[in-house]
């Protein structure tokens, strides 16, 4: 439909447009979308403003300094950035293969009824509060790591720096494992939906060409769903980066950079949650807020990289966007 109306005064034109209903919907949804942008920019602005003291004092050194000392007013983000990246990497290294395998089984191999029941349970897992996972970590994963898993890993891989040094049960590896347990439901749930949405014809065509069931799944269905699967992985990554309670309960909370996964560490989200309430000095508080800004920046960069990766893989095949 074209709108060939004679020119009216501004207000009349606006009121007339509203009568259509479409315009109202347009306005409402636009406001909602603008709200998101507004909230994000206000958040960044506020973090930027309130971290002014710390930014002025430490500048770029904030990223490299390894000390976090409230008594001597010396703050650096390096151990926290390291801890956040390492725990998230460990979590993804465990959760991605596990999650993807489960999703493939549930969408391609399991009977539909079983698949629906299991995915209902997985959705429940995704809704469990993180402190519960933290308790699970303290009472099950930590003792297991100290008495069984840790010594076994040390025996086999102890020669690498990754598994050297004393094993207290808490540390990067334990935090990574607990995070993996927490994020795996996201990967399974989203990947399964994406795999199920792959058109039937794709599978049938592959089978008709003489592919085995596994070949059809791995070489046709999974590449088709690649964008969505990657989306699920980045959703999981976002959750892992920002997780606070469960991590602080099992990571040992010691701001140090160590190659060993057994060593205790610290993450950005954990230190903010731990120290914010009792932070008395102005510079101390400002440094904690700057850590928040750094976490925001990290999430921003990783999400940007994710977008680039998705675009790049789409070019190399898979479903046309």
């Amino acid at each position: 439909m074209t709108r060939e109306v004679p020119p009216k005064s501004g207000l009349r034109a606006f009121v007339d447009k509203l009568k259509g209903g479409d315009e109202i919907a347009h306005l409402i949804t636009l406001t909602a979308a603008a709200g998101i942008i507004l909230i994000t920019s206000l958040l960044v602005l506020e973090l930027w403003r309130t971290s002014q003291l710390s930014r002025a004092k430490f500048g770029w050194m904030f990223f490299w300094t390894k000390v976090w000392d409230a008594n001597f007013d010396n703050f650096g983000a390096a151990p926290f950035i390291y801890g956040t990246l390492v725990t998230s990497a460990v979590a993804l290294a465990i959760a991605v293969p596990l999650g993807l395998a489960s999703a493939i089984f549930l969408s391609e191999l399991a009977p539909r009824r079983l698949s629906d029941i299991v995915s209902f349970l997985i959705d429940l897992l995704a809704a469990v509060p993180s402190v519960i996972y933290g308790l699970l970590g303290i009472f099950i994963v930590v003792p297991l790591m100290r008495t069984t898993l840790g010594p076994a890993l040390k025996k086999v891989l102890g020669f690498t720096p990754l598994f050297a040094g004393p094993n207290y049960g808490v540390g990067f590896l334990t935090a990574g494992i607990v995070l993996a347990i927490m994020v795996v439901p996201f990967i399974i749930s989203v990947s399964r939906e994406v795999l199920l949405s792959v058109p039937r014809e794709q599978r049938e065509a592959a089978l008709a060409m003489g592919a085995t069931r596994w070949e059809a799944t791995w070489q046709v269905v999974v590449p088709w769903a690649r964008t969505g699967i990657m989306g699920s992985v980045f959703l999981a990554l976002a959750r892992a980066l920002g997780e606070t309670m469960a991590v602080t309960m099992v990571i040992g909370n010691n701001p140090q950079i160590s190659a060993s996964l057994f060593a205790p560490g610290y993450t950005i989200a954990s230190v903010i949650a731990n120290e914010f309430t009792e932070a008395t000095g102005d510079l101390y508080l400002s440094a904690l807020i700057e850590l928040g800004l750094v976490l925001f920046l990290m999430t921003f960069i990783l999400n940007g990289l994710a977008r680039i990766l998705i675009v790049a893989t789409e070019r190399g095949g898979g479903r046309p966007a």
């Binding site: 000392d69 409230a70 909370n253 009792e278 932070a279």
Partner: protein
């Protein structure tokens, strides 16, 4: 009862309540701060409200740092802190702030050593060395000499500390700062410090959980928490050279020992206090009250509450395992209430 009657009764009740409020001058006080004394504070505010229905005190246990900040920002009527405000903080403040000690707290060393079940004695040097990382084995001479007859293993010591900022850490590091110059110069005291060694646990439950799970570990926990959960802990050597087990009496004794030299503004550390019976890792916790309160109703309510807290209120302490303030301190504080204008 039919609708009409209900309506009449309800409006009558509402009218009475409004009248009472108008007569009694309903006073609502907002306060925020330390988490450690929260159980006793909420008990006090509740009992006080029952006795004085027109005064309601709303306390948010957001932490000492938050309490100080909110007080300075003027969002609360008074604050509460586990550590006294520093001179810099007081000079930076726009208005004068008074400190009133309310109850006493203490930290105890809790440990888990394979093959050792008895109560260990710790010298201040031993504790400072362990937490600095200079004493690394359980059979170090500094530990064994205080524990004759105990067979301590040559195992590595795992140090456990609080990861969250906390008044408990303030007391512990204040004690270590007095025990060791090295600690004072390298680490210092505060609600969270740059720990030379060890693992961090969140909250008392996090520290005691890690100690319980980790062989050959030692950590510090709040006396109240240890007592309520039946956690065993060691004795600490006091300034008089005696090994003292923390309990309500020995903590009050520490405050009494410090009462003689109590400064007029009550900002005093009582770690390592003199007195043969004094437990050395003890501390006051304070209410932070503005010296000038504009609203006369609020001012009277706060002054009356302080008076009540120092006399009647102290009776509720021991039921919640908080040590009572010693008499000389209470008398001094009662006089100091007049400073609130």
């Amino acid at each position: 009862m039919n609708m009409k009657k209900t309506f009449v009764v309800v409006s009558l009740l509402l009218g009475m309540a409004a009248l009472a409020a108008a007569q009694g001058g309903q006073v609502l006080l907002n306060a925020a701060g330390a988490t450690f004394p929260y159980p006793i504070y909420s008990k006090w505010f509740d009992v006080y409200h029952t006795a004085h229905p027109n005064v309601q005190i709303n306390y948010q246990s957001i932490g000492s740092g938050g309490g100080i900040r909110q007080l300075q920002a003027g969002t609360v009527d008074f604050g509460a802190s586990d550590g006294p405000m520093s001179d810099e903080q007081l000079t930076a403040s726009k208005f004068k702030i008074l400190h009133f000690p309310t109850v006493l707290g203490a930290d105890v060393p809790s440990y888990n050593i394979s093959g050792v079940s008895g109560e260990l004695n710790f010298t201040e040097k031993a504790l400072a060395g362990i937490f600095l990382g200079t004493i690394t084995k359980w059979n170090d001479p500094e530990i064994t000499k205080a524990n004759p007859g105990v067979n301590l293993p040559s195992a590595d010591i795992v140090v456990i500390h609080r990861s969250d900022g906390s008044g408990t850490t303030y007391i512990w590091t204040d004690f270590l700062s007095k025990a060791s110059d090295d600690w004072k110069n390298k680490v210092g005291k505060g609600t969270s410090v740059n720990w030379p060694v060890g693992l961090g646990g969140k909250g008392n439950e996090g520290v005691s959980g890690l100690v319980k799970q980790t062989p050959n570990s030692i950590g510090y926990i709040e006396l109240v928490y240890a007592a309520q959960n039946g956690i065993a802990f060691g004795k600490v050597q006091n300034a008089a050279g005696k090994f003292i087990k923390a309990d309500l009496a020995s903590v009050t004794a520490a405050a009494a020992g410090a009462a003689k030299d109590m400064p007029a503004d009550f900002r005093v550390s009582i770690t390592n206090a003199p007195g043969a019976a004094a437990y050395p890792v003890s501390s006051f916790t304070w209410l932070l009250i503005p010296a000038r309160i504009q609203d006369p109703a609020k001012r009277d309510a706060i002054k009356d509450f302080l008076k009540w807290m120092l006399t009647e209120g102290q009776k509720y302490n021991e039921g919640l395992t908080y040590a009572q303030l010693p008499k000389p301190v209470i008398e001094k504080e009662l006089k100091a209430i007049a400073l609130i204008q």
